[in-house]
Symmetry: C2
Subunit: 202 residues, 2 copies
């Protein structure tokens, strides 16, 4: 391919491809857009990236992103209930739970799910840190990993560890028909789980 | 929305939204991905952005991106035919033409197309620079703007200017059935243009 771009532009187009879902075409489009219409945004992004890389690490208690060496906002909050621990796969799940529920306990972020083929086992998911958390005054572990095969396998591993080795009460968030969902539009697996997980109401 | 992220992470998520097609959700996903799996890529992107913003401007002859103050690689190349000028909408179009054809003349990049509703008129498309280019020893202007309504309007404006005011020979790239295209899968407008633009072959 003939390269008619100046080196700084070619380098930018290659560098943009580190973003998930961005290939050569959309990287090119993004580069043109930034240079042509939003140089302020490009400058701000450059600084935000440099700052995030140098400042951010993981909270030593819950593995959430936090400024390196510091525990995160949630772990540091004394008003939170330190006896409940929600296990999630990603930091984004914490945001979802905080916004949708009135849960105000602690979290532990696995940063992924068990996936032996990708080389992700308990060690990569912070098993040691989690075990030492479970040794604290935790009364209930609420497992909120995804409703996927990997999420279920991960839930099983965490649940067994918490129950067997630490004697903690373990719960799993409910799976079933989404609120607002018509029964005949729900897939069979979900409906079967909703059925087998039915609760007495009277 | 409860903000449970450290400030550097929130700032990165906001800054990523300057990229075209990136909203809050995908910005969050990109930020996590970079911090979790590709800090080297993030650092490189940060530097590439800073460098591109500080180094890149437009070629004073053809409006292509080039290092500020310098004319671009193509305009500076003495082996190129300085009597032919292709008019394109975007820098990416130059790459496409260079790769697909054996054209080795000059280019002029409009950096957009006429779009009065968005406030883009001849002034924004470099009319003055284009006029001074046409005063040089140009023998043929090849208009390669898009086959859209705006592209056609732009082609009309450029063509008229070149022909009437500068007496230059003006051509337009052909529109018709794409190579490999089955006739009954081609849309009606394209087929009509292919039909009216038919050429004698014997």
């Amino acid at each position: 391919m003939t390269n008619v771009f100046p080196p700084a532009l070619s380098e930018l187009i290659i560098a943009l491809q580190c973003l998930p879902g961005v290939g050569p075409k959309s990287a090119q489009r993004s580069a043109f857009q930034l240079l042509e219409r939003d140089r302020g945004g490009a400058q701000r992004l450059s600084q935000a990236l440099a700052q995030a890389v140098s400042l951010l690490g993981h909270c030593p208690r819950c593995r959430m992103f936090s400024e390196t060496g510091n525990i995160c906002q949630i772990c540091a909050d004394p008003r939170r209930d330190a006896t409940a621990l929600v296990i999630v796969e990603n930091p984004a799940d914490i945001v979802a739970i905080e916004n949708a529920t009135d849960y105000r306990g602690m979290y532990f972020v696995l940063m992924g799910h068990l996936s032996p083929l990708d080389g992700i086992g308990p060690g990569q998911l912070g098993a040691q840190q989690l075990e030492s958390r479970l040794d604290e005054a935790i009364k209930e572990v609420i497992i909120a990993t995804g409703a996927t095969i990997e999420g279920e396998a991960t839930a099983h591993w965490v649940g067994e560890m918490a129950r067997r080795h630490h004697g903690v009460h373990v719960t799993r968030i409910a799976h079933g028909v989404p609120v607002g969902g018509d029964l005949d539009y729900v897939d069979g697996t979900t409906l079967a789980r909703a059925f087998s997980g039915r609760r007495e109401i009277f």
